[in-house]
């Protein structure tokens, strides 16, 4: 991979920015364009770029497949868990108004949490799918 020096340097510069931007999109989704789906896809794309430039083995050392697989389920669990919590607090399923003392604050908290759940699942699924395809390539 020596002849891809420019590519590697640029990728090294860009990947932290891509991941940072994904986090911005994730948590700023309430005010500007963005949200869990977009952030998850951008986060996943950052990892895929890393795997493409530095090789899949290096990438699996960073994002270990068992951990990523747990994340796939974790996001969905977080989403449905918020629903169960609101159910336990006396509201209806996925009714966030009961999560805090003030309905508007509760809505805010609920939306933030489920967007996080969406983001985790989407990012983990994208990375898993890519690893699955790339793992075949070597065989």
């Amino acid at each position: 991979m020596k002849h891809h020096l420019v590519l590697r340097v640029v990728a090294k510069l860009l990947i932290p920015l891509i991941l940072l931007f994904a986090l911005y999109v994730q948590f700023h989704g309430d005010y500007g364009p963005g949200g869990g789906f977009q952030a998850g896809v951008i986060f996943g794309a950052g990892f895929i770029l890393y795997a493409l430039v530095f090789g899949v083995d290096t990438a699996t050392a960073v994002a270990r497949p068992p951990v990523v697989r747990v994340c796939v389920a974790l996001g969905l669990l977080l989403f449905s868990g918020v629903g169960v919590v609101s159910l336990l607090l006396g509201g209806r399923y996925l009714d966030y108004s009961v999560l805090a003392d003030d309905p508007v604050r509760g809505q805010h908290l609920g939306i933030l949490l489920i967007e996080l759940g969406v983001g985790i699942t989407v990012a983990a699924v994208m990375v898993t799918i890519f690893f699955a395809f790339a793992g075949r390539e070597r065989a």
Binding site: Y31, G32, P33, F37, G40, V41, V125, F133, R136
Partner: protein
């Protein structure tokens, strides 16, 4: 001039039919998946075209704007795009398995192999 308002829909139908044509006339499975994606994108454009309001702005509330485009189709399509790529990946995974099992991704050759068994 009143027909010009339908231009978007006509392009949507053209794209839809292009995708449809690829799906029914080509035998290569990867090409078929690209065709399905064309079809899917045309539906996205149809929804987003319908949500546009003349003189409206993006549906993010801000002082000084009164007219917003309809946010509901945006929500539906936003999720549909991500679901679409996940299901496309599933289809591509099936194609890879078919290639491993049959040694080809051309539909008629797969059919011939099945017949000769």
């Amino acid at each position: 001039m009143q027909w010009l308002g339908l231009y978007n829909y006509w392009i949507v139908i053209f794209l839809m039919m292009a995708g449809f044509y690829v799906v029914i006339s080509r035998s290569n499975l990867v090409k078929k998946i690209v065709g399905l994606n064309l079809f899917q994108t045309s539906v996205f454009i149809l929804y987003i075209s319908m949500s546009k309001v003349q003189g409206g702005t993006a549906p993010i509330l801000k002082e000084g704007f009164a007219v917003y485009s309809n946010p509901l189709p945006h929500v539906l399509i936003l999720t549909a795009i991500v679901v679409g790529v996940a299901t496309t990946a599933l289809g591509l995974a099936l194609v890879v398995r078919i290639k491993e099992a049959y040694g080809t991704v051309e539909e008629d050759e797969i059919h011939n192999k099945d017949e000769s068994l």
